[in-house]
């Protein structure tokens, strides 16, 4: 539930409750006030009637007082006034121009048992219709409900509108936060707002992303610097071993041990070099853009790898459209093709196949081979390799992926028909 809805709903419920309570209270107050007024009027009527009786004034038939029966006398020994609501049957018949009606109507009735100075006791009854009062209350209730609804609707409408306006920068910023990528090296752009909380939030996000970016850059630089610093000691190691190998008085076991050290050193320096390359790609140091003839590049690479292809008796088939020109960095494309091709050879089987297809929209390379022992999602991650062989650094595809990311190309891997298939879409 969105915050706007949540607060809006609370307001709605609250205002509904208040208005309902208000309506109920209003109803009772009005009824009480009116019945007070009515009872006053009835008392007045009763006074008029008793005065008339006292002075023997003529009375209407409706006001005819009754002498009390003995039973009543016994029941009401003192003068008493009783108020009550009662229903009286109305029947209007045979009057011209008036519809015939038969209905019960509610009346307020006053019954008084009164002793007159003459000693006679009378029962005086006077009534007043409650219908008008009831109508009045009904109208007031309806009006209250109507006003309540109007107010609620208006409140809802304005609340939503202003809230939308107020929250708009927030939602925009949320979107840019979602799209923020630390690798793009672009500072996050936030829409400012005159709401203090949002301004504060923006400030925090800004400083957080800046901190994140600088940390990320530091880390990247660290990789590159560390790799650089390692090169000189590696060079010293390698050169010392090579010199040692020249000495003639080494026995076979010493040479064997030297060989191991030498090969481990070689592996380390290869790994270091690849790591450095990856760091450089990630740091976007290959930014010079030029026209690269990919068709030519691929054909050259196949020539370079000829020995390796022939040795494994790999059948290579190509469908390279000539003169495919890409606007990109030549070093990066070179690395991309080299890595993909050498992988296709290295992870191939004896007498396997390689198929390469290049068109203006994509580069497709597939090779025969055993199914991966790692999940394809991990294939492009660093140091994820299917075999633990020494000749594979596990960084090649990470470099390939990074290059594709930088060039905004799409790269996909599938294993189909016993073939590893990689497609790069430009």
């Amino acid at each position: 539930m969105r915050l706007i809805e949540r607060t809006g709903r609370s307001y709605l419920i609250l205002s509904l409750v208040i208005f309902m309570l208000f309506g109920i209270v209003l109803y009772f107050i009005l009824t009480a006030v009116m019945s007070n007024r009515l009872d006053e009027k009835l008392r007045y009527n009763k006074e008029v009637i008793s005065k008339r009786i006292k002075y023997d004034y003529p009375l209407t038939i409706f006001e005819e007082p009754e002498l009390l029966t003995e039973a009543e006398n016994r029941f009401y020994p003192k003068d008493t006034v009783i108020y009550k609501d009662t229903l009286i049957f109305h029947a209007i018949e045979g009057l011209e121009g008036v519809e015939n009606t038969e209905e019960y109507e509610k009346y307020r009735q006053l019954t008084a048992y009164e002793t007159f100075p003459t000693g006679e006791r009378y029962k005086i009854i006077t009534r007043n219709s409650l219908v008008r009062n009831q109508d009045f209350v009904t109208i007031i209730t309806l009006l209250t409900i109507f006003i309540t609804l109007l107010l609620v609707a208006g409140l809802w409408f304005f609340n939503t509108r202003t809230a939308n306006k107020i929250w708009k920068p927030f939602y925009n910023n949320l979107n840019s936060l979602k799209n923020f990528s630390i690798q793009e090296q672009k500072p996050i752009e936030l829409q400012s707002s005159n709401i203090d909380e949002f301004t504060e939030l923006n400030g925090s996000i800004k400083s957080l992303t800046e901190k994140l970016s600088s940390d990320y850059n530091n880390l990247k630089e660290f990789t590159e610097n560390a790799s650089h610093e390692m090169q000189t000691p590696l060079a010293i190691m390698q050169s010392k071993i090579e010199l040692l190998l020249q000495s003639t008085n080494l026995n076979e076991s010493e040479i064997k041990q030297l060989q191991s050290i030498y090969q481990a050193g070689q592996r380390l320096s290869k790994l270091n070099k690849t790591l450095l390359t990856l760091a450089k790609v990630e740091n976007r140091q290959f930014s010079e853009i030029e026209e690269v003839n990919l068709s030519e590049l691929i054909n050259t690479k196949i020539e370079i790898y000829e020995d390796f292809i022939e040795a494994k008796k790999i059948d290579i088939e190509t469908d390279i459209e000539p003169e495919i020109i890409l606007e990109t960095n030549s070093t990066m494309v070179d690395m991309l093709v080299t890595n993909l091709l050498s992988n296709a050879i290295r992870h191939n089987i004896e007498k396997g196949t390689i198929f390469m297809k290049l068109s203006a929209t994509h580069f497709h390379i597939s090779n025969s081979g055993n199914e991966l022992s790692i999940s394809p999602e991990n294939l492009f991650n660093r140091f994820k390799k299917a075999s633990s062989s020494a000749d594979s650094s596990g960084l090649g595809l990470a470099i390939v992926k990074k290059i594709c990311e930088i060039n905004e190309w799409k790269i996909d891997y599938t294993f189909l028909d016993e073939q590893h298939q990689i497609i790069v879409r430009f």
């Binding site: 090579e242 064997k256 060989q259 030498y262 020995d307």
Partner: protein, 224 residues
Amino acid sequence: MKILIVEDEIELIESMATYLENEDFICEKATNFFDAEDKLISFNYDVVILDITLPDGSGIDLLKMIKDKDAKVGVLIVSAKDSLDDKLKGLDLGADDYITKPFHLAELNSRINSLLRRQKFDGSDMIVFNEIEIDPTSKEVTIDNKLIELTKKEYNLLLYFIANKNKVVTKESIAEHLWGDEIEMADSFDFIYTHLGNLRKKIKKYGANDYVKTMYGLGYKFSE
């Protein structure tokens, strides 16, 4: 032949000097910009091995100085950075070759040899090892004046061996020399064997001795 090695890492300078002195080069060492500048002003060298990053200055400035003084001096840049920028800048300013750390001493030696050939005789100098004669310009190889047909790889391999004659040359350095360092396949050692086998056969066929000795699966030695 006189070589000046400019490099701030003493241990590395010692290794290079030892290897090259064994090849009858005269090596002088400079471990900082100031020393190097001083030596370059006072003496003449055939080749300068130049590290770009020095503690008290840039090798690039030394390069300008060397080329201003005598454009014929061969300069081989050694750098820990194999960034393209540095490479292009170095070569643009007149450096003759570029090698990145870590490198094989045999490779360094081979580069210096080819640099010297190009520089002294415009590459027309004949390389002679007993009955084997190589013409670097036309890339023709003759044994007892008989022309033998070699593939490009076999030719490069022979040249590399002769440049590093009497030295143990590791398989790794041969692989890197023949295929470049971007190829890091373990298989490459098998191909060295294939190419080497073919080369040996051809040389033997034309009556020359088999000069290649295998060193415990570690590498090879080209010697009499």
